[in-house]
Every structure is written in structure tokens, then in C-alpha cells.
Amino acid sequence: MAYSDKVIDHYNNPRNVGSFPKETPGVGTGLVGAPECGDVMKLQIKVNLDTGVIEDAKFKTFGCGSAIASSSLATEWLKGKTVDEAAKIKNTDIVNELKLPPVKIHCSVLAEDAIKAALTDYKEKSAARVVGAAS
């Protein structure tokens, strides 16, 4: 299968590979997929607690080139967005940007799931912190 230039670029020069310590305030972590399915994505966001803006994002992905590219692109798009804006990123946006063929659409779905999981984790932790601070 031939890859689009953008997939090749993200594969060769992945943006934002790495990890934040999970417990740092403002960090939300999403871990989605399953090893037996051949795809696992870990996507993390680091939110500025004062502004609610995602200041940084990191990923690590086990999967094919399209999965790596989808998560790399997701981290690029997340940076600078507010948490609410980030929730609006759709897998179809990733498909269009990377020109993924039908057989690779599940990679973009997984990236969207990873974004959602990271946002949920961030919100749950923030809520817990507020509750913790109040008590």
C-alpha cells in the first residue's frame, strides 16, 4: 500500500513523542486500543490550569505507520486549543488531512478515542482536585 506524503512525514518525523508524568496537575492521559488488535495509543495533554488551554501534548503509539501519523497529527492539533475546542476534533478531519485509505480509517478513530480519553482523564482529575481542595 502506498502511503500519502503526510503519513510518511509524520512517520519519519513524529511530532511530540514522549510522556508527561501522569500525576502532574493539568495532565490528562488517554490509553486506547489493544495489543491484540495491533494498535495502542497513549496520548497526553498538559492543560494550563489558569487558562484552560492545552499547552503541550505528547504521544506514544504501537501500530502501523498510519496509526503513528494519526496520533502525531492529533498532538499537533491539540496544542493551543482549549479543552472544549479539542473535544471537537473528529476522526474524519484526520482522515482528510492524512488522506488515509478506507482500510486505515480505524487508525483515525483510535486517535479520536485517544483525544477523548485524555480529555476525560483531565476533567476527572480536575474535578477530584476541586473536591479535594474543598474538603
Binding site: Y3, Y11, A34, P35, E36, G38, V40, T61, C64, G65
Partner: protein, 408 residues
């Protein structure tokens, strides 16, 4: 010598035509273009003689007693189809049961599935962790309705070579026909249908430096005389088992390719095995949690199949494909999204089945190429592990199996 890119190390998918093979083929496209079934003029006689010479060369490579036992087909897939369907139809009254293995190549498995839809019953014997079939399991799978045992000689992914002689002996003892898919083995390791008790054998030219588009089915004529219902009806060529005008140039090349393989096999297999072993040692000694798939000794000399834990196969190939051509059992390299059923049949975790890479060497592979591909593979795997969440978890001491994954 400077390396020439891309390096081809996927010789179990196909091989280049040996220039010596091409040389003998060429005149049969132009001057000697006769139809081998034209019995009344010299063009036909010339073509028929050339085809018969090729039959002898192929018969000699596989130890067949009589060149007439070689039936030409379009390739391995057709040979397997003809063997299985031809026996099933011809011997249906004797029984409707077939014994085969879980790791046959797709043609074998898909023909069996079709036969099952037509009322046949098929037993798929599992393999051990090393890829070897336990002949005793075949014995136990046999019923009084079994008409055929079909076991591949050497596996296309892991290269594991089965104990064909023991299966042949068992088949003889039970009076059951025995077919072996030897597409990967013929020309690479000694094959002898007489000594091994094989009744039907499938092989193909393009894996032994001949052309794509031609294969052969060995069909035993004596003790027992095997009969087959043809799949293609027509002029009654090939003893009525496979009608259609023979592709004479391709067949001439197949013959010459077989002759060369027979001559060079001892030297070539030793040379390829040595390079393969070097590649294997280089990779296994520098990458942790890299696992050899298949039997370490009983395998094809040019095959190496390794699973790299925590990285996905296609992503490894993507890192190499500008400079070298390899194969993966990863789902992502195929349209099915299912990982290698062969690696999975070894009992490895599905994750490792997604992570397998097959290196297959060939006649023209050089030591420099092997050294280069080995070094680059190690680099790519290490780079991908740096971005693998599974590798990170493993390094933190987390048991990946303990995580509750939400499988799609």
C-alpha cells in the same frame, strides 16, 4: 562493492529469473513458438521435445520416477486447487474426509473451506510452538472416510520443514493419498517423492528463479496410480488432467531453473543458511525481546522470521521500505486486518503475531546486503520502541496482560 537499493529480501514471495534461465526461454517466444500438441509438423515436435525435457528436469529435482508424472499448471495455487479438488471429486464415493494442517498457505486452506461447503469434512491439525506437526495428531485425525492427507512441506512464513517422510509412511500404511504443498521447499532442500511416499506434490517456477505463470503438480502413476478429476476441460492435454495450451517458454525456463537448483543446492543452501544465521545472530544479540518464530533447525536455509515485541510489523517495514523489501505477518500489510494466522497458530500472543518480520534470502543476496538490512532493522525497531507505549509500560514493570484493554 557498493550496495544497490532497494535490497530484495522477500524471496519467499517471489524470486528474480536467473539470467541462465531467461537465456533458454527466449528462443521459445520467437523462433521456436510451436504448439506442443501440434503432432504433424516440426514446430510442434520441437515444442513437445522442449516440454518433455523440462518434465525430465523437474522430475529429476523432486525424485519422480517418470517425467509423465509432472502435470504443468499456471502455478502453485492452481496445483493445490487441482490436487485437492481433483482428488475430492474423483474419490468422493470412497469418503468425504480430508486431513490437513492449520498452517497451510491460503490456497490450501481456502480450497478446504470450499470443499467443506460442498459437504466434505476437514480436520485441521494444529502445530506445536516450534511450527512442527506431530504426526501422531494426523494419525488420530484420520477416519475411515479420509481420502486425502495434505501437509505442506515447508511453511511460507516461518520456513519450518515438516517430517514429510513420516506422513508419507502413515498415508501408505492407511492407504490414503498424500499431497504436499512444496512450493517453498522444492529447489531449496532435498525433495524426493519416492523416498518420502508423496502421491501428489505442488510446486512453482517463480520461487526457484523461473518465471511467474507456471507451476507443476506431480501426480503419481504407480503404486498407487492417482486419478484426478480435471478442473479445466478442453483438449485433454496433460493426460486429461489439465487442458490448455502449454506456455512453452515458461516451461522451458522452469526446467532449466530446476536443473540449476539441483546442481547448486548443497552449496547454495549452505551459503544462504550461513548468511541467514549471521543475520539472526546480529538481530537477536542486539534487540531484547525479539523472538525467533518456527523451528530453529528444521527450517528452510533462506528463511528467518522474528517477532519484535512492542512494535507493529508494518511500522517496521515502513521504516525500511525505501531501501529494502521484506514481509510482515502484520495485519496492516494485508487488507484483512487479521494478523498472521501462522504465527498465531504457534500459540504466540496475538500481539506478537502483529509484530513478525520475515527475511527471505535468495541466490543473489550478498553478505553486505544482509549486514545492512540487519543493522537497519535494529535501528528501526529501536526507534519504534522509543515511541511504543507498550515498551514504556514493560520497562516500568507493568504486565501488559494485566491491563484491561478495551478491544474494539
Amino acid at each position: 562493492m557498493a550496495l544497490k537499493f532497494p535490497i530484495f529480501m522477500d524471496a519467499q514471495s517471489t524470486t528474480p529469473v536467473d539470467p541462465r534461465v531467461l537465456d533458454v526461454m527466449l528462443p521459445y517466444f520467437t523462433e521456436r513458438f510451436g504448439h506442443p500438441a501440434s503432432r504433424n509438423h516440426s514446430f510442434g515436435w520441437e515444442a513437445e521435445n522442449a516440454v518433455d525435457r523440462a518434465r525430465e528436469q523437474i522430475a529429476s529435482l523432486i525424485g519422480a520416477r517418470d517425467p509423465k508424472e509432472i502435470i504443468f499448471t499456471s502455478g502453485g495455487t492452481e496445483s493445490i486447487n487441482l490436487a485437492l479438488k481433483g482428488v475430492a471429486e474423483m474419490y468422493r464415493e470412497k469418503g468425504n474426509h480430508i486431513v490437513t494442517t492449520a498452517i497451510e498457505q491460503r490456497a490450501g486452506l481456502d480450497v478446504c473451506k470450499r470443499l467443506e461447503r460442498q459437504g466434505f469434512e476437514v480436520a485441521y491439525v494444529p502445530v506445536g510452538a516450534d511450527g512442527l506437526i506431530d504426526v501422531d495428531l494426523i494419525r488420530r485425525a484420520i477416519t475411515d472416510k479420509t481420502i486425502l492427507i495434505s501437509v505442506m512441506f515447508a511453511n511460507n512464513e516461518i520456513g519450518t520443514i515438516q517430517d514429510i517422510s513420516s506422513v508419507g509412511k502413515l498415508a501408505k500404511e492407511k492407504g490414503i493419498l498424500f499431497h504436499t504443498d512444496a512450493t517453498q521447499a522444492v529447489g531449496k532442500v532435498p525433495v524426493n517423492v519416492e523416498a518420502m511416499g508423496v502421491d501428489l506434490l505442488s510446486c512453482t517456477a517463480h520461487l526457484i528463479y523461473g518465471s511467474k505463470g507456471v507451476g507443476a503438480l506431480y501426480v503419481r502413476r504407480k503404486a498407487p496410480r492417482v486419478r484426478l478429476a480435471p478442473m479445466i476441460d478442453g483438449g485433454g492435454h496433460e493426460r486429461g488432467m489439465r487442458s490448455g495450451t502449454l506456455p512453452v517458454p515458461l516451461i522451458v525456463g522452469f526446467g532449466r531453473a530446476s536443473e540449476i537448483c539441483r546442481e547448486v543446492m548443497p552449496e547454495e543452501s549452505a551459503r544462504l543458511a550461513k548468511m541467514r544465521d549471521r543475520l539472526q545472530d546480529a538481530i537477536l544479540s542486539s534487540v531484547d525481546e525479539a523472538y525467533l518464530n518456527g523451528h530453529p533447525e528444521r527450517r528452510l536455509p533462506h528463511n528467518l522470521n522474528i517477532s519484535f515485541a512492542y512494535v507493529e510489523g508494518e511500522s517496521v517495514l515502513m521504516g525500511l521500505n525505501k531501501e529494502s523489501a521484506l514481509a510482515s505477518g502484520s495485519a496492516c500489510t494485508s487488507a484483512t486486518l487479521e494478523p498472521s494466522y501462522v504465527i498465531a497458530a504457534l500459540g504466540a500472543s496475538t500481539e506478537l503475531a502483529h509484530s513478525s518480520i520475515r527475511f527471505s534470502l535468495h541466490r543473489f543476496t550478498t553478505g553486505e546486503e544482509v549486514e545492512y538490512v540487519g543493522r537497519r532493522t535494529i535501528e528501526v525497531v529501536q526507534r519504534l520502541r522509543e515511541m511504543s507505549p507498550l515498551y514504556e509500560l514493560a520497562k516500568e514493570g507493568v504486565d501488559i496482560k494485566s491491563i484491561h484493554w478495551k478491544a474494539e
